[in-house]
């Protein structure tokens, strides 16, 4: 790990620690936007972490920037940080200036498509997309549309779109957006296609899940040390210890898989490491959340306890940007097509 990355992460941990306390988590869970947190994220340059320095960004390399999201996942940061970073990446690829405020990206679901056609000096969009993170709250929606058989990045104003609000299990906004007839004055062609966008989104969710699993491990170990039953802390019982050891294994695997994807994404978004991370972290999310709840007992099942801020995100994030089955089907299909005698080569080549 680079020294820069360690420094970036330490600073991020401090910022998240300060701005993601119990009160903020409770209020954002009720639908409030964390304005102070957002200002801090912007001032620190995190929201523009994937925008090059020359374009007004933070000047972090891509891996350092993505590793911020492990820390963000640890603290269940209740703001569209990953989404705004993703938007910044798309905008930079198209050479479009990075606007202020939280940004959304569409489309995010496999099969959702937006098309664009020229309309005077701008573009006109067509298409409906589902489950767009933070669309209604965003200052702008960055749309990756197909136009004249190329990829167009365009900025749409949420107020121009027909948006039906929704949420994931963690209460994070996931909105259905109808772009039909929406006019965009800003747009440019760019190299990234829907597959690249989906891959980077998958790396981001993997990183966030790795962080969230680290957090539920710490919380669970801490609770097992404090909670006394039968006259001793429950963490003294072997049955509980063995479960926490399994949780530790899942957290370590998710972290390793996410770190591999973060490294790979900087030079190849189509690396099998990306698929592997989403598959492995997604699987760890389910196992890890289940053990964390088992260890916490009834208190962990309440709204009052903070555990659900992490576990509800784990249950949501594993299904976003392609679930385990989606990525495993792709990865397995590629390996099968390459053939049995290339299997080991494929594994070692992934790094």
């Amino acid at each position: 790990m680079s020294e820069t990355r360690d420094l970036v992460r330490e600073a991020a941990e401090r910022l998240f620690e300060k701005h993601c306390g119990a009160e903020i988590m409770r209020r954002t869970d009720g639908g409030e936007f964390p304005q102070a947190l957002w200002c801090a994220l912007t001032e620190a340059g995190y929201t523009a972490a994937l925008v090059p320095e020359a374009a007004g960004g933070a000047g972090l390399d891509m891996s350092d920037a993505l590793s911020l999201l492990v820390s963000a996942g640890r603290h269940a940061v209740p703001a569209p940080l990953a989404e705004t970073m993703l938007a910044g990446w798309l905008l930079s690829a198209a050479g479009i200036p990075f606007p202020e405020g939280p940004l959304a990206v569409a489309p995010v679901r496999e099969g959702d498509a937006v098309t664009a056609s020229r309309d005077g000096t701008g573009w006109r969009l067509q298409g409906k997309t589902g489950r767009v993170p933070w669309a209604a709250r965003a200052a702008a929606i960055v749309v990756l549309a197909r136009c004249e058989e190329r990829n167009l990045v365009a900025l749409a104003a949420p107020g121009d779109c027909r948006i039906v609000g929704g949420a994931n299990l963690a209460g994070e906004a996931r909105d259905d957006v109808d772009f039909s007839g929406v006019r965009c004055s800003v747009g440019a062609f760019a190299a990234p296609d829907a597959a690249a966008l989906r891959s980077l989104g998958a790396v981001m969710r993997s990183a966030q899940m790795a962080g969230a699993l680290q957090s539920v491990l710490e919380t669970s170990v801490q609770y097992a040390r404090e909670r006394v039953q039968f006259g001793r802390p429950i963490g003294r019982f072997q049955a509980v210890q063995q479960n926490l050891a399994v949780l530790a294994g899942q957290a370590a695997a998710a972290t390793a898989a996410a770190e591999a994807a973060i490294e790979a994404a900087a030079h190849n978004l189509h690396s099998p490491a990306v698929a592997a991370a989403k598959i492995r972290a997604g699987e760890a999310a389910g196992i890890g959340a289940a053990i964390a709840h088992q260890v916490h007992g009834a208190i962990g099942f309440t709204q009052e306890h903070r555990l659900h801020y992490s576990t509800r995100r784990l249950w949501s994030w594993r299904d976003e940007f392609g679930n385990e089955a989606y990525w495993a089907r792709r990865l397995g299909g590629e390996l099968a097509a390459a053939g049995a005698d290339r299997l080991w080569h494929g594994i070692t080549a992934a790094g």
Partner: protein
């Protein structure tokens, strides 16, 4: 926070040179991998072939990290890792030198006398000398501190009485590293243990009997010591320090690629049997297994990197072994659901025979080198829970 830091995995150090070595190893395997039954690669390091071990020794691929003055090659742990994983993935017959290279040699290097090191390490590195591990006994499995085989001090050395059990490859090994009780255990139960370097070919009073496993194969042995005399020079390390030496030795044993590649031959044959355009269900299963292997490989290389840097990642190693052996045992269960065939060791179809062998060997994966429960106990200790 502290609890997680004990289990931190440093990213494996970048190592582009490894790919040059990998190409050399693959070329060697293409030329020298003996024609053999496909099932010999099942279970990791199963096949025993002295001739193959000697050829590997000639390439400088045994004792790779050891000092040159002891026949080693002073290469990095990460280079060694490349050789190990290439051998295992191809099912090469490496058991003739496996234990000596992984465990006994490094232990000798750490605690052996100059005489022991000079006489034995160069022979291991040449692929000429094989080792077995005399730890478990009939009443001492996971509870290793309870060993009862006793070495009593006598004129000029020790007289050993007792029985070792589950001693893999004792019948074809030159030496055993034997753990004995030489004194009182003390309150911590870990005192009074001593390791010995036993020349199996030259020591009187040792009887080696086969214990066949459930597949009918002969790897295990019972080794009975009856008034066997060991000269004083055969003490390995310090008298009474056996426990510390053994636990250090086990850390080397736990995190290597052999802890997640035992079923790899089956995965290859499964992929072959599925063909280039398998069902959606099969693709999902295959993709998932390989995602696990990618991740395990990174964790395992991370431990190799930490060992190289002089750290003692014993808890991380336990964690890798727990995750790895869980996957190894899942693979036959998944494979049998994807291909409709009854496992049959006598079949002429490779998938069917490899499935049968893997299935029958799988129970051992989470027993050898520390049971799953012991490993999880170690991880829990790392978490500060015990």
């Amino acid at each position: 926070m502290a609890s997680i830091d004990n289990l931190r995995f440093e990213p494996p150090p970048p190592f582009p040179e490894a790919e040059v070595l990998r190409a050399e190893v693959r070329a060697f395997l293409a030329e020298h991998l003996p024609k053999r039954a496909i099932t010999e690669g099942v279970g990791s390091w199963g096949g025993h072939d002295r001739d193959f071990s000697r050829k590997m020794g000639a390439c400088g691929w045994i004792g790779m990290t050891w000092p040159k003055r002891y026949g080693g090659h002073e290469r990095s742990a990460l280079e060694r890792y490349v050789v190990l994983e290439e051998m295992l993935a191809s099912g090469a017959p490496v058991s003739g030198h496996w234990v000596a290279d992984r465990q006994s040699g490094p232990l000798l290097l750490r605690v052996g006398t100059e005489q022991q090191k000079n006489s034995i390490l160069p022979r291991i590195a040449a692929g000429e000398c094989s080792f077995c591990i005399g730890m478990s006994e009939p009443d001492s499995g996971s509870d290793l501190a309870s060993v009862r085989t006793r070495a009593a001090a006598v004129e000029g050395g020790f007289r050993v009485n007792g029985t070792k059990l589950w001693t893999s490859n004792a019948h074809r090994s030159d030496y055993m590293i034997l753990l004995c009780r030489t004194g009182e255990a003390g309150e911590q139960r870990h005192g009074g243990l001593t390791q010995f370097l036993v020349d199996l070919k030259a020591t009187q009073g040792i009887a080696i009997r086969p214990v066949r496993n459930l597949a009918g194969e002969h790897h295990f042995n019972e080794v009975v010591f009856q008034d066997a005399f060991l000269p004083g020079a055969s003490v390995l390390g310090e008298v009474g320090s056996g426990w510390q030496q053994v636990t250090g030795e086990l850390a080397f044993e736990r995190s290597g690629p052999e802890r997640f590649l035992s079923s790899f031959t089956l995965l290859v044959e499964l992929t072959r049997a599925l063909g280039p355009d398998p069902s959606e269900r099969a693709r999902i299963a295959l993709g998932r297994i390989v995602a696990h292997i990618y991740t395990l490989r990174r964790l395992s290389r991370s431990v190799a990197g930490m060992l190289q840097a002089g750290a003692n990642p014993a808890q991380q190693a336990a964690l890798v072994k727990d995750l790895g052996t869980t996957l190894e045992q899942e693979i036959p269960e998944i494979a049998r659901q994807l291909i409709d065939a009854e496992p049959d060791r006598a079949s002429t179809q490779d998938f069917v025979t490899v499935l049968a062998h893997t299935m029958m060997n799988a129970p051992s994966f989470s027993l050898r080198g520390g049971t799953r429960e012991i490993l999880r106990g170690m991880i829990a200790r790392g978490l500060g829970l015990r």
